[in-house]
């Protein structure tokens, strides 16, 4: 394991999480909440922020203790670190954002099983220092947050005709979009849109991922 490889520039680390390796639309990781809580922008925004914070904190703590832990048991140790940050996040949200927490509480707890967080710790934090780990975590977290905002606003606008609960669209909203099925359709369409943009820019379509964990 090459520990002292120089980190890529900050802008690369940030943009990677947002576009090339967007956790939801590109890597197809952490899909469960992306479909589940995005019936409204508010819920999506809250979960996105929670993931962003947990991701940054976990990446940094992972990189801090990388010399102390035995590589053989790093996965259980990472899991415990994430579980600790998630527990803290869970309690904070339950205390200060009770109304939203009622709806998305289960998914906040399930952040612990998010493949994206542990995979960033494994792929990046183990090889880099705290500061680059912070930027990498921030990029990935922002990528997730952006995905949540996109899906959330799309579904709320079409499904309830509003944004942040403020009515915007005068016609009768499409109930289908807020139904469970609508979540799957929305993600499928946005993924196709990402592919379409890639084709327009002359890139090859990346062989679709999924099943990374």
């Amino acid at each position: 394991m090459s520990t002292n490889r120089p980190p890529p520039p900050i802008s690369t680390m940030l943009m990677r999480g947002l576009f090339e390796e967007n956790p939801v639309f590109r890597l197809a990781l952490s899909l469960c909440p992306a479909v589940a809580v995005t019936t409204s922008l508010k819920n999506g925004l809250m979960l996105g922020c929670a993931v962003l914070i947990v991701q940054v904190l976990s990446s940094m703590s992972g990189s801090l203790i990388k010399h102390v832990i035995n590589p053989k048991i790093r996965i259980p140790v990472f899991t415990i670190i994430i579980a600790i940050w998630v527990s803290a996040m869970d309690m904070i949200l339950a205390a200060y954002f009770a109304s939203v927490y009622q709806e998305v509480g289960l998914y906040v707890k399930l952040i612990v099983a998010f493949a994206i967080i542990i995979s960033r710790m494994e792929l990046f934090s183990m090889k880099h220092n705290v500061v680059p780990s912070f930027w990498d975590g921030l990029g990935m977290g922002l990528g997730f947050l952006a995905a949540m905002i996109m899906t959330g606003s799309f579904r709320e606008l079409l499904g309830s005709g509003s944004i942040f609960g403020i009515a915007l669209v005068p016609f009768k909203p499409l109930l289908l979009v807020v139904l469970p099925a609508g979540g799957f359709f929305t993600i499928g369409l946005i993924m196709a849109l990402f592919n379409w943009v890639d084709v327009k820019r002359g890139h090859k379509i990346p062989t679709a991922g999924g099943g990374h964990g």
Binding site: C32, A36, D90, L106, A115, G188, G210, H212
Partner: protein
């Protein structure tokens, strides 16, 4: 507590004598014990020493009721039969509230292993068995250790620990006892740790304060539901792989659209009521 059971949508057969006065009878749901339900008549039942109580509200065989009467030094608890409860929870969590299609859990693994039928079946079986074991272990730990000791805040850490240890343990035992089976199912065991369903089941049970039977029903039902979803999806994906899908939809996007269609058809189960 004496014997009583719901025999029709608005009749309860009570084993024992009750005063004939309707006002003396107090029937409540165990969940909200402050709201008495209206009782219209109290008649002697067909058998000696039994009473038939009729209500205006519709009674549910799945619910817990409590019946008391002034002047009678006894209370009747009306509970669903254990088997009926278990089956209704299993069907509820496997079909009506399918974990994949209506609660969107376990999607990462779902889209990863639904590419061919054999993998889907292997994963489905392994997941159902491990899920049941971990669900019950987590329930026991929560009920007998975390709740009495007021350590609820450790739930997430404890449950993920149980899942990780159990998966490692099953892996070790299987490798020693039956290497052939291990070669076939070992790879799925590793994937289970990152499946959110296996963590969601204990969390849901802990939040709702489930009884042993409810916890077992949810654990089995979630596993079955996941297996059903995987099998259906793998059948569809095998066909789609032969079809001319537009280029930008190839791979995951079309898989999501198919999952959406399945979710739409699973909505049909929401009208299903288990008596």
């Amino acid at each position: 507590m004496a014997d009583a059971q719901v025999i029709s949508p608005n009749q309860i057969l009570v084993n024992g004598q009750l005063p004939a006065d309707v006002a003396a009878i107090r029937l409540v749901r165990k969940a909200d014990a402050d709201i008495p339900m209206a009782v219209t008549s109290v008649k002697p039942g067909a058998q000696p020493n039994s009473t038939l109580v009729t209500t205006t509200e519709t009674l549910n065989t799945q619910e817990h009721y409590l019946l008391t009467a002034t002047g009678v030094d006894q209370a009747w608890a009306i509970s669903p039969s254990p088997l009926a409860l278990l089956i209704s929870v299993i069907i509820g969590s496997a079909l009506i509230n399918n974990f994949v299609f209506t609660r969107y859990l376990g999607l990462c693994v779902f889209f990863g292993v639904s590419r061919n039928k054999d993998t889907a079946i292997g994963m489905g079986i392994t997941f159902t068995i491990v899920g049941m074991l971990s669900g019950l272990l987590a329930w026991a730990l929560n009920t007998y250790a975390l709740v009495p000791l007021k350590l609820n805040f450790l739930q997430i850490i404890a449950f993920i620990g149980i899942v990780a240890c159990l998966v490692q343990g099953v892996d070790l035992v299987l490798k020693k006892v039956n290497p052939l089976l291990h070669r076939k199912f070992g790879i799925y065991l590793v994937l289970i740790t990152t499946n959110c369903i296996i963590l969601a089941v204990p969390l849901l049970n802990a939040t709702s304060g489930a009884t042993f039977l409810e916890a077992m029903g949810l654990a089995i039902g979630s596993g079955l539901g996941f297996a059903i979803a995987l099998f259906l999806m793998s059948c569809a994906i095998e066909k789609v792989n032969m079809a001319p899908v537009p280029m930008i939809f190839r791979g995951l996007p079309i898989a999501f659209i198919i999952a959406g269609l399945f979710a739409l058809s699973f909505l049909g189960f929401s009208g299903l009521k288990v008596a």
